[in-house]
Amino acid sequence: MTKHMNLSKFPHRIVSLITGLLLSFLGSCSRIDHKQSALDPKGLVSQNQYDVFMLSVWITIFLFCAVGGCLLFVLWRYRAKSKEEAMEVPEQMHGNSKIETTLILASAIILVILAVPTLQGVVLMNRVPDPNDQATLDKLELDKSQIEDAITVNVTGKRFFWVFEYPQYGIVTANELVFPASKAVRVNLRTEDVIHSFWLPKLAGKMDLMPGQENFMWFIANEEKIRTGIDKDGNPYEVDTQTAMPSVFDGKMRQAIFAKQAFTDEFEAVGGLFYGQCAEYCGNSHAYMSFRALAQTDEDFDEWVLKFRNAQNPNLQPIPYSPENNYEIDDVITFSDEKLGEGISRDFRAVQAVTKGQSPETKPDAWEKVHSDDFVKGKALFSSLQCVQCHAINRTGLGAKGPNLTLFGLRTSLAAGWMRNDEASLDKWLRNSNDVKFGNLMWNGEGIDDRHPLRQLENDDEKVSQLVSYLLDLK
């Protein structure tokens, strides 16, 4: 009986499997706006690259049809229809120089059609337009200020993550490039180890990071294109700026991305989120070396820069409590909290004016704890487990071995864009990062072996959860 049922169900299952495959097939091939698609340009440079590409596609389709059609005609017209015909001797013709010359000239002309936009494209990719050259700006539909106020980002590739330094603002972040959508972005590319390649398909194509050399590329996003798109059901939509580009500095971008779609959704509902990838083979974890670029309105970008600058400003870090000082409301100091462990100090914020000698110990009412206990313990672990040796938090730490983790809680992704930056993923990552991203240098780098405290975290729930709450509260 069972056997019989299985047999009758079997073809049905195959049919539904095939139908399912076909549907998903049609669904996905009718769309060209996948996360990393070069067919869905959202910036000036990538639009130019796309236009030249489409020109070449039409040219080659024309040629393929012309030559292929000719071939088919010849095969049909001159096929040997019978055994007798196959033994006939046709006229032994050796060539025709007129036809050949014509075809050579024709192909040369077709190449010129492609060569002109190619050369224009080369110049556009390599040189930011001169802000004083109004004619060019008009042609590109750019405003003078968009070029004049361009921001500069120094990108450093490392195995297997990205450092983004903003020299104009003196700040450093990693793996998520925040940029103003209305301004040109100049990108200087360097590497400290092997060759990498910075590929941001929807905005700018790619450029290699060559050791011992600084390469350059630039891009500028198109706000209008960021606000429009096609939703999951295939309908075109247009949203306002705030919806398309939620602000990063107050965590709205992160919330919006987490709320709107699963990490694994194919089609993006947040227009300001761009996916990038290392495109030059760089070792074991090359596949995992991706990154993100987050477009912002001018105001939100300025807010983000300000917040970041303050976080990384050494003069604005809380200083230890001194009984010699008076404190005003909202002043933050560090003071030891022996309840959490020996030598651990934490941040306190004054809730009222504090006079000399009123420490959090002697006058607890005047102070509030800035962070949770877990945060403070996590922070202590971050030092004692030697994380600080490679990761900078609240300082620029250029030259550090690992990604800068300042304001880590605002990041949308983890492990160089490979996973969503939420508690579950971070938990998994901290326990055994080699499982997630085999070959990463946090697990395999110089001087790290089985005795390293990082490798003891696998079954230590308490420490991991403290680290998670510390890192995700950095915002």
């Binding site: 091939c29 060209i32 996360k35 698609s37 070069a38 990538s46 690259q49 796309y50 030249v52 590409f53 080659t60 040629l63 393929f64 030559v67 292929g68 000719c70 010849v74 095969l75 001159y78 040997a80 046709p90 032994q92 013709m93 050796h94 060539g95 120089s97 036809i99 050949e100 190449l111 060569a115 936009p117 190619t118 494209g121 080369v122 556009l124 990719m125 040189r127 092997v194 060759i195 390649s197 590929w199 700018a204 194509g205 790619k206 450029m207 290699d208 060559m210 050791p211 011992g212 050399q213 350059f216 699963a262 990490f263 194919e266 495109a279 030059e280 083979y281 070792g283 974890s285 070959g439």
Partner: protein, 647 residues
Amino acid sequence: MAIESLKYASPDTETKIEAKVFPRPSQYTTGLVDWLTTIDHKKIGLMYGMAALFFLLVGGIEALLIRSQLWSHNMEVLTNREYNQMFTMHGTTMVFLVIMPLSAAFFNYLMPLQIGARDVAFPRMNALSLWCFVSGGIILNLSWFFTGGSPAIGWFGYAPLTDTRFAEVLGDMGPDFWIFSLQMLGLASLLASFNFITTIINMRAPGMTMMRMPVFTWMTLIVSFLIILAFPAITIALVELMFDRTYGTNFYDFLEGGKPHLWQHLFWIFGHPEVYILILPAMGIVSEVIPVFSRKPLFGYGLVIFSGAIIGFMGFAVWSHHMFTTGMGVVATSAFSILTMLIAIPTGVKIFNWIGTMWGGRIRFDTPMLFALGFITMFMIGGFTGIMHSSVPIDAQHQDSYFVVAHFHYVLIGGALFGLFCGFYFWLPKMTGRMLNEKLGKFVFTLMFIGFNLTFFPMHYLGMIGQPRRTHSYNEGHGFETWNQIATIGSFILGIGIAIGVYQFVSAFFNKRLKPAGKNPWDARTLEWTLSSPVKEYNFARNPIIKARDQAWENNYGPKENHSQKEPLDDHGVHMPDRSWYPLLTAVGLFVMVIGMLFHASIDASGELVRNYTVAVAGGVVSTIGIIMWSLEGPAGYHLFPKEKEE
């Protein structure tokens, strides 16, 4: 066959032969010793071909593992290091151990027959080339068994990833095996090329002027020149890399002031001509097959050859189009972009001429013709995407994406491999004396054509939607899954097709039930088809005197004055050289030397680096002895007196 056979001794050298210490294996050698010591270009060609077909299966299995890993997101068929090793080995194997030696097999077997020669100019050097190729292939694949496994550096081995500083396994030996095997394979190619050039220039039969040579022989000549001009670049690059890795020099170590860019330039100055080294032989084969199955001479013979030469020449002026994204600046990228577009013109010329050849013909669709037509269409697609890449703005998106993977597989499988399979189906009757099974051949073609397009056409789209090359895994949510699954299914169909094809080729030598081929089963046009199938060891009983291009055709259908003649009979017969052990000995010596170099360094108990060159020196001595003995062993040989009809 031979009515008389005697030891070769012209009156004035009689004494020398008696002074010989080590006799050369004689005319009557058979079995394994015969194959190991042979200097017959046909046997060497067959061994080249068989070894290359074996490596085709090895590289194919690597490809199928790659495709299995990419079936879906986050697959774990292979670890990422294993995957990286697979694509490195797949690329290196397919380029150096499959396509090049398959072309060499055809060069070896056919070129002397096409120009009316008894053998190549330096038969023993030809054997050395074969054994160097075999040991290069062995060295590369030995890497699987030693520290670090096989190399995980990509077939292009970009510095500084190859530097010991960036090794991901302590004491990784993979790149060293890769370096030395490439040097050996380079040596094999160079030896063969010098040999072919000398043969074609000097050993053509009377009347076989350059402009009467078959196109395939022309392509042999052009490719041989490309090899001798291109390989020195990679030889130097590899020597420098070896010094960097072994002795701590800093040619490419940027932390010590070296220049990774240098590697890329040297590699691609070799690497781009290499592309034409891979495709021109296939173009030559197709240029032979299409006229035969259209029963018309090649349209624009001169232009086809000239465009082949132009492609070869310009191939040296476009290498930097592999480096558009390395930051060469506006001027260099523009110049290389335009030069690359220009190369499309001579390539287009060939396609026009093939179609022109069929125009007005009587087209038969036998298996070789199907492969030739497959070649034209697939190569056309690969050529068109090539034009796209020549445009820098387009390349900025395509570079290192799956679009490029699609492009060069269209050129190298749809182009080169289809061309070579076309050659097998066309010439195996000549080599084995038996016709291949047409139905099975057409079945193989169908499988290969469908499988190939299923595998590689979707990759254009995958590249455009952002799948990067050389990544062992991809995340969910990029929309890569469906098309990768189609590609994987296609790759298995292609794999089955190729496997059946290889089986068919090999079995043709043993399967006695196949129909006998006769001299000229296809009613083909060139000189080799005037000989019996399989060709006798002496090739031509008497030197032919060539009167026309397409001599076999002219003999059948041409006017009387175009029929070939024979040189007058003399009492000298055909001089055949004896076999020789020394090419093999020399190659074995080189092999030992390489092994000695690979394992010369060790760390002793006190942690000091110890270098011990005993084995390497011993290998060097063996190969030197081989060369000396080779020079001293004397001509030897014997004479055959075949009758005209035994040709």
